[in-house]
């Protein structure tokens, strides 16, 4: 009974995670702790598994349908993985309160920026950043919702790289996939289409999470009785989600994304001010 309920929650987490590019931890952790009374360590362990399952499960369809920009993802993985190591390192050195507040405000800023975006399904062609040209980052994808091939350029590579480094630090500090930052870096800073941003965020997240998952596993935080059903449910959900997302309007995805972004932002600021303790 217990496993079946976890499986159902995990399917939902996989769908939401793959559509929004978030990895599903945002649902798995609170659901396990609040609904099933699982300890926070085991919930975080299961959520790391859910991030990897969302990433790999959705990437199969997103890459096949050419939504994911592999070059953008692989290039930015340098920033997130170095960031993750930095995060794990400074986590033991300084109180991360100030970082939480800074990153929280950054998320508020990008939520406001996203609200201002109007012409969503029509991608504006930004001028190509010189580094983007050298790295061959530009691409195009077929949008099933509006049945059009959408070509796009990539702007502000350095800004995006810097935010990705920040996303990596957050991952290292908190052991999460930090998908909201990854989507923000690509959508707000580098001006990639939203669908390309969420698909590429999902793609990258598996690598970031894999780096910390080993640590959690050998520390004993990954309970097979919980993480097993979570992995299966999320894999199934992510496979479904990767199909649903392509038929959704970018505007709809954005409308779902903004409240989640604000929720994560407020939670971080709250934590940073010190109420979380």
């Amino acid at each position: 009974m217990f496993s079946l309920q976890i499986l159902l929650i995990a399917i939902l987490a996989g769908i939401v995670g793959s559509v929004l590019g978030l990895g599903g931890g945002i649902i798995v952790t609170p659901a396990l702790t609040l609904l099933f009374g699982v300890s926070i360590e085991h919930a975080i362990g299961a959520s790391i598994i859910s991030v990897i399952a969302t990433s790999s499960g959705s990437a199969i369809a997103y890459i096949r349908d050419r939504i994911t920009n592999l070059r953008v993802g692989m290039f930015l993985e340098i920033a997130t993985t170095i960031g993750a190591i930095t995060g794990a390192f400074i986590g033991g050195l300084i109180a991360p309160n100030l970082l939480y507040i800074i990153f929280g405000l950054l998320l508020v800023y990008s939520a406001v920026n996203m609200m201002k975006k109007k012409k969503d399904d029509q991608q504006e062609l930004v001028p190509m950043h010189p580094a983007a040209a050298k790295l061959k980052l530009a691409g195009s994808y077929y949008d099933k919702a509006i049945q059009q091939e959408i070509p796009y350029n990539v702007g502000n590579v350095y800004g995006g790289f810097a935010v990705m480094y920040g996303a990596g630090i957050i991952s290292g500090l908190l052991g999460i996939g930090s998908g909201s930052f990854k989507v923000m870096a690509m959508d707000v800073f580098m001006k990639l289409p939203l669908k390309v941003s969420t698909a590429t965020s999902n793609f990258m997240m598996g690598v970031t999470a894999a780096a910390s998952a080993g640590v959690y596993l050998f520390r004993g935080d990954i309970d097979p009785h919980i993480a097993g059903p979570v992995a299966l449910g999320v894999l199934a959900g992510a496979t479904i989600g990767a199909r649903i997302m392509q038929r959704m309007k970018s505007k709809t995805i954005r409308m779902l994304f903004i409240p989640v972004l604000l929720y994560v932002a407020l939670q971080m600021i709250y934590e940073g001010i010190g109420f979380g303790k």
Partner: protein, 119 residues
């Protein structure tokens, strides 16, 4: 080499290997869960489960359900790492030196983080 066909080759290889990794790890987890429900026994006393590599491997050979599920989870965790390694190889075959370098850097950082995590 045409840039477009190059990235398509990489896409094909990455997506194929991700699928193989996902199917194998899901199958192993399913087998573990079925064993758990049929026998009604996790293979370990109480709520204990194995979390050292040797315990996990020994348990899996003896088909203890918790150890089999954990093997599936380890395979799932290794899938993205395998994906990075595969893409280095494909970029190398395509002669794209810049991206061989980029993906190699990512793999090296990943390995460093595994080593740091163990310490």
């Amino acid at each position: 080499m045409n840039e477009n066909t190059e990235i398509q080759d990489v896409e094909l290889a990455v997506s194929r290997w991700l699928r193989i990794g996902v199917i194998i790890s899901a199958a192993v987890i399913v087998i573990g869960l079925i064993l758990l429900f049929i026998t009604g026994d996790s293979g370990y006393p109480g709520s204990f489960y194995p979390h050292t590599l040797s315990d996990i491997l020994h348990g899996a050979v003896q088909l203890r359900p918790y150890a089999v599920i954990t093997i599936g989870l380890i395979l799932l965790i290794l899938t993205p790492v395998l994906r990075v390694a595969i893409s280095i190889w494909v970029f190398m075959r395509e002669g794209d030196k810049l991206y061989v370098m980029i993906t190699s850097i990512v793999l090296i950082i990943l390995i460093i983080s595994f080593v740091l995590g163990k310490a």
